[in-house]
Symmetry: C2
Subunit: 398 residues, 2 copies
C-alpha cells in the first residue's frame, strides 16, 4: 500500500461539477444532436485570437534566431518583453511601472500561486480573504501555500462588497485580500467607489495592525468590459497591490499559459516582495514562462480578440431571463452571468435544467448558493435558441 | 515591516554562482573582446531546433483552428498529444505505455515538482535520496515539497553509484530515489549494470519496509548520448518508476517549457499515483502545459537537434585536458564534463581560472567538491582555442 499525499490524490480524483456536466453534455449531444444541447458550463473563449497573434507567431518563427527564440529567458521574463508590457500598462492605465516590477508567469493561476507562496509565512496562521462569489481554485491555491482561506458572503444585490462582513473578518492575521473584477462567475465589475472604500479599509487596518495587508487582484477578464465600463486600475488606489494578469481571455490564448505578477512600484519593501515572488516561482518549479509566447503577448499586449459577441450574448440572455422572471445582476464584463435560481436549492435547479438540455453550473461551488453560472462564450444563435429551453425550465417551477 | 515567507525571499535573492560568472564574463568580454572569453558556465543548448520544430509551429498556426490550437487542453494534456508521445516511447524504447499514464508538464522541473508533491506525505519525514554530483535545484524542489533531502556522496572514479553508501542511507522513511542519467554535471550515463543493481536494491528494501520506494528518473539529456551509448530505459528495470522528461535539450527548446511525467503502467496503484500527480499539478497552479508546444513536441518527438557539435567538443576537451594532466571521467552524454580540479579547493581553482578568462563552475554546488563543471555547448573553435587558456591555468599549479 503506497503512502501518497492524500490531499493531492483528492485534488486529482475529484471530478468537478463542470467536468461532470461536460460528460453529460457529450452523452446528451449524441442523443438529441449537438445543436440542441445548450452548454453554458465551460469558460473557454469562443472567439479566435486576433490576427496579430498568429501573425506574430509566424513572423518571429521565420525571422528570429531559433536559439534565442526558444531559449531560456531569465527567470523573471525576457527584459524586452517586460519593457513592452510596462509600456503597455503606462499607455492603457496611465500608471507608471518599472519592467523590474513585472514577473512573467504561466497565466494568472501561477501568478496567484507565486503571490500566495511569497506572502504566506509557514506556521503563522496567515489568513487570505476572498469575496463570494469566487473562482473555486482560489481555495486550492491558498491552502496549497499553507494559508487559511476566509470567505466573505456575497452581496447578492449588486455583487460589490459586503463591507460590514468584511470588516468583521479582518484581523491581525489577515495577510492579503484577493479580488477578481471583472468577476468569474458574476460578471460584476467593482466600481471606483468600491475600490476606494476597500483601499481605505485596508490602509486603516494595516496601520492598526502594524503590518501591510496586501491586495491581490486577479485580472484575467480585465479586457472584457461592456458598454464602455471602466475597470479601475487597482494599483492607483492602493500601494500594496499585486496584480495577477493573464492574456488567456483578452487574446483567446488560454492554453498558451501567459501572464504576469505586477508588484506595484509604490509597494512597501518592493524589492523584498519581488524577491519572494521570484523565490516562490523557483520553488514551484516554474523556471521561466514560455519564451515564444512571452514575446507574442508582449507584442500584442494592446490587442484583444473580437469580444463583441460576448456583449451581444449577454444582452440577449439578460433580457431573456429577466422576461422569464429571473433576478439577474447585469454583468459589466467577462462572459459570465450569475442569475438567482428559481428555487433556493441551486444544485437541484441545475439538475432540473439538464432535463431541458441546459448545462449551467450551481452557485454553491462559487460560494454563493441560490445562483447559477451561465458561461455565454457560445455562438449567438445558440444563446438565442436557449431561451426556449430556459422558458421550459421556468415553467417547471410555476 | 512586511512579514514575508523568508525562505522564498532567500530563494529569490540568492545570486547563483553561475549568474555571478555570467556577470563577470560580460565585464571581461567588454575588456578583452567576447571571442577571448571562454564561457563554459551556462547549460543552454547552442544548436538550433531541428527544422521540423519551426515548420510544425508554422503549419499548425496556419492550418489549425485558433480556438483549438491556443485553447486549454485537459489538465493532463491533449489526448492526441499523449497518444503520439506514448507511440514514440514504444517505438524508441520498445516499452508499452498508455497515453493515460502521461501527464504533460512545463518541462522536467515541473514534472519533478509534481512527483515530489504527489509522493511526500506532510509531517511523515519522508526522505528523498539524490546521488552526487547532482543538479542543485533538486534540493530546492524536494524541500519545497516538504521532503527531507538526503545526499549520497559521489563515486568519483566512474560517476556511477556508491552502493555501500546508498544502502546505508536507505531506511523506512525513504520515499523515493532521484536519478539523473545522462548526468548534469558529470555527463555520465548509468550503465545497465548500475540500473539493474539499483532496481534490485529498491525491490529488496521495498519488500523489507512494506511500502514502495519510488524511482524518479530525471531525463532531460536522454537524447544526448555519445558513441552510440545506450541509455537504459529505466521503467523496463523497475516497475515503480516515474520518468520526468523534457524536450528542452533534445529539441533545443528550453524556453518553451515542455515535458511530461510518465507513471509506469506497471506501477503499483498506478491510478492513485497518477491522480496524486495530477492533484499536485493543480495545487502548484500548473493548469495545463502550453498548448501549441504540446502539439509541436509530440509531432517532433522522434527528432533531435544536430547534437554532433557536443560530441566533437567533448572529444577536443577531454583529450586536451587529459594531456594537461587533468583526471576526467569520459562523458557519455549531455554537454557537460566534470574534471577534477588541480587543487582540492574547487572554488579557489575556478576563481583562478577567471584570470585566464575561463568561466567554469565549482563542483561544490553540485555536491562534489574537488571538481569543476565545463559546459561545452559552445562553438567548436571556442572549445579548441580554450585549451591554451587551460594550459596556462594548469601551468599556474605546476
Amino acid at each position: 500500500m503506497a503512502a501518497l499525499n492524500q490531499k493531492m490524490v483528492g485534488l486529482g480524483t475529484q471530478r468537478s461539477v463542470i467536468r461532470e456536466l461536460f460528460e453529460f453534455g457529450k452523452k446528451r449531444m449524441a442523443e438529441v444532436g449537438p445543436e440542441n444541447v445548450f452548454d453554458f458550463s465551460i469558460g473557454n473563449p469562443s472567439v479566435p485570437a486576433p490576427d496579430s497573434v498568429n501573425e506574430t507567431v509566424m513572423r518571429m518563427t521565420r525571422e528570429m534566431d531559433s536559439v534565442v527564440l526558444h531559449g531560456y529567458t531569465s527567470a523573471q521574463g525576457d527584459p524586452l518583453v517586460r519593457k513592452k508590457v510596462a509600456d503597455s500598462i503606462r499607455r492603457n492605465f496611465d500608471f507608471e511601472v518599472s519592467p523590474d516590477s513585472l514577473y512573467m508567469t504561466y497565466g494568472a493561476a501561477s501568478a496567484l500561486c507565486c503571490c500566495l507562496n511569497a506572502l504566506n509565512v509557514p506556521g503563522a496562521g496567515d489568513e487570505f480573504i476572498v469575496f463570494a462569489p469566487y473562482f473555486p481554485e482560489y481555495q486550492v491555491f491558498i491552502e496549497a501555500a499553507g494559508g487559511v482561506f476566509r470567505l466573505i458572503p456575497a452581496d447578492i444585490e449588486e455583487f460589490q462588497i459586503d463591507f460590514d462582513r468584511f470588516e468583521e473578518t479582518l484581523n491581525e492575521k489577515t495577510k492579503a485580500v484577493l479580488i477578481n473584477s471583472p468577476n468569474n462567475p458574476s460578471g460584476a465589475v467593482y466600481s471606483e467607489a468600491t475600490i476606494r472604500r476597500l483601499a481605505a479599509v485596508l490602509e486603516e487596518k494595516s496601520a492598526q495592525y502594524g503590518h501591510a495587508i496586501y491586495l491581490i487582484t486577479d485580472e484575467p477578464y480585465r479586457a472584457i468590459a461592456f458598454n464602455g465600463v471602466t475597470v479601475p486600475y487597482v494599483p492607483k488606489y492602493y500601494k500594496n497591490t499585486l496584480v495577477c494578469y493573464s492574456w488567456s481571455k483578452a487574446l483567446s490564448v488560454p492554453g498558451e499559459r501567459m501572464g504576469y505578477v505586477l508588484v506595484s512600484d509604490q509597494m512597501e519593501e518592493h524589492d523584498l516582495v519581488y524577491a519572494a515572488i521570484a523565490g516562490a516561482g523557483r520553488s514551484l518549479g516554474y523556471v521561466s514562462a514560455p519564451s515564444l509566447f512571452q514575446r507574442v503577448c508582449a507584442e500584442c499586449a494592446d490587442d484583444t480578440s473580437d469580444i463583441s459577441v460576448y456583449e451581444k450574448n449577454k444582452e440577449i440572455l439578460v433580457r431573456g431571463l429577466r422576461d422569464l422572471g429571473f433576478f439577474c445582476v447585469e454583468p459589466q464584463g467577462t462572459f459570465y452571468m450569475f442569475p438567482r435560481t428559481l428555487i433556493p436549492d441551486d444544485i437541484a435547479f441545475c439538475e432540473k435544467a439538464k432535463d431541458f438540455n441546459l448545462l449551467i453550473v450551481p452557485g454553491t461551488g462559487f460560494g454563493c448558493p441560490g445562483h447559477a453560472r451561465i458561461s455565454y462564450c457560445v455562438p449567438t444563435e445558440r444563446a438565442e435558441r436557449s431561451l426556449e429551453a430556459f422558458a421550459k425550465l421556468a415553467a417547471a417551477y410555476r
